[in-house]
């Protein structure tokens, strides 16, 4: 019985320590950037591997989610004779919720796991240690560009996701199902507010970008340097990042739209 309580206590302390370590880690990594000449090319390469390579999956899933929303929405709205509200429904759903959240989940699976595995393997093969040995700060050279790339890429991908989703909904709703194109757009423009909807979606995805990248990079950096440790860290990245995104989404929605 006493052992159980002790085990619980040590688990709690461990979690607390990990939290503290990750906070210090985030602080140091962000503090390390401002040298554009050295870090610019590194950052470009990271934006390529984090953002550009995630573009295909974002485009494809954006089109399909937009099309499915239009199809489902049409079937329900047409029952009340208000299928011209389709554009409004699809745009608000995408901009406020699905764009940021689904992009963040896909990003955690596609880019987050890759970041964790890459950094974890660097640690396991002692590349990070040898970098420190020759006087290069791995935080500055390896971690910091990946952070900034993640912060920049996720909002961009979320915006692309929403735009492509709206176009997919247009293809299904207007071209295929025959909703009037003029009322599709004008209803959308009347109900969607730039600051309220678009900007809040961007802020959401910015927060998700910070959290997902932070979790991914920290799990890689903090991994147990064995092959099993890397696999476990990668799993943890996807699970923690997804849960964090969904939980934070509720809080952010409550603050932004719930008049809290």
């Amino acid at each position: 019985m006493i052992d159980r309580i002790a085990a619980l206590g040590s688990k709690g302390l461990e979690t607390l320590q990990a939290l503290g370590r990750s906070g210090m880690f985030l602080f140091h990594a962000l503090w390390a950037l401002p040298n554009v000449r050295v870090n610019g090319p590194l950052l470009v390469r990271q934006i390529f591997s984090v953002g550009v390579l995630s573009l295909i999956i974002i485009l494809v899933s954006g089109v399909f989610i937009g099309m499915v929303l239009a199809l489902q929405g049409y079937n329900i709205l047409t029952r009340y004779g208000s299928e011209q509200a389709l554009g409004q429904m699809v745009a608000l759903t995408l901009l406020r919720e699905l764009g940021p959240v689904v992009t963040a989940l896909l990003f955690a699976g596609r880019a987050g796991s890759a970041l964790t595995a890459e950094i974890g393997l660097m640690k396991a093969t002692e590349q990070l240690a040898s970098m420190e040995m020759i006087g290069v700060d791995p935080l500055r050279r390896i971690i910091s560009p990946r952070f900034w790339a993640g912060f920049y890429c996720l909002p961009t991908l979320a915006v692309i996701f929403s735009a492509v989703g709206v176009l997919g909904a247009y293809a299904v709703g207007v071209v295929w199902l025959g909703v009037d194109g003029g009322s599709f757009w004008s209803n959308m423009q009347n109900s969607v507010e730039w600051g309220e909807d678009v900007m809040n979606g961007v802020i959401k995805s910015l927060v998700f970008g910070i959290v997902v990248t932070w979790i991914a990079v920290f799990q890689g950096y903090d991994t147990v340097p064995t092959s099993e440790g890397i696999s476990r860290a990668t799993t943890r990245t996807v699970v923690y990042a997804s849960l964090a995104v969904l939980g934070l989404d509720f809080i952010l929605t409550a603050v932004m739209f719930g008049e809290l």
Binding site: P41, N190, V192
Partner: protein, 155 residues
């Protein structure tokens, strides 16, 4: 060469992001470039504002000519005060313009409809619209209808 491909791809990625946000701004949210501050403010007192909200449309003959900027209670007369920002381009509303709170469709959003009067003087910044007509509240209508029904049944 390899670096160049990467840089090109990243540049294209940034460009696609920019195009997407411009698309969301202009096409989806209908953001227009006109500066929003060319307005003058008038107010009207209503017995009941119903479900009118801030930023609702102010229209005349169905055309949007302004927005509701503020709603509050007049604590002396116990009526709702609605402040409206009217575009400067519509500067020739007469002082006896009437304002009514209308509903788009049966259950749609509330908006204000203005009707031009006959006076020669025009409304200016800070003037009051005296001819006001309250919102139609569905419950009141139903209550009136029920009362009418009962009294007409009486011999």
């Amino acid at each position: 060469m390899r670096t160049r491909t990467v840089e090109l791809a990243v540049g294209a990625f940034m460009l696609i992001g920019l195009v997407a946000i411009i698309f969301l701004a202009l096409r989806v949210s209908g953001l227009s470039m006109q500066s929003p501050d060319e307005t003058y403010r008038v107010y009207g007192k209503f017995e009941n504002i119903g479900g009118l909200t801030v930023r609702a449309k102010v229209t005349m003959a169905g055309v949007t000519i302004g927005r509701v900027s503020d709603i509050y209670l007049d604590k002396e007369d116990f009526v709702g005060v609605v402040e409206m920002d009217i575009y400067d381009s519509v500067s020739n509303l007469s002082t006896d313009t009437s304002a009514a709170i209308l509903t788009a469709g049966l259950l749609g959003e509330k908006y204000i409809g203005l009707t031009q009067g006959a006076e020669l003087d025009n409304l200016t910044d800070g003037s009051e619209i005296y001819n006001t007509q309250s919102a139609m509240v569905l419950e009141d209508l139903i209550a009136k209808f029920l009362v009418g029904q009962v009294s007409s049944d009486d011999p």
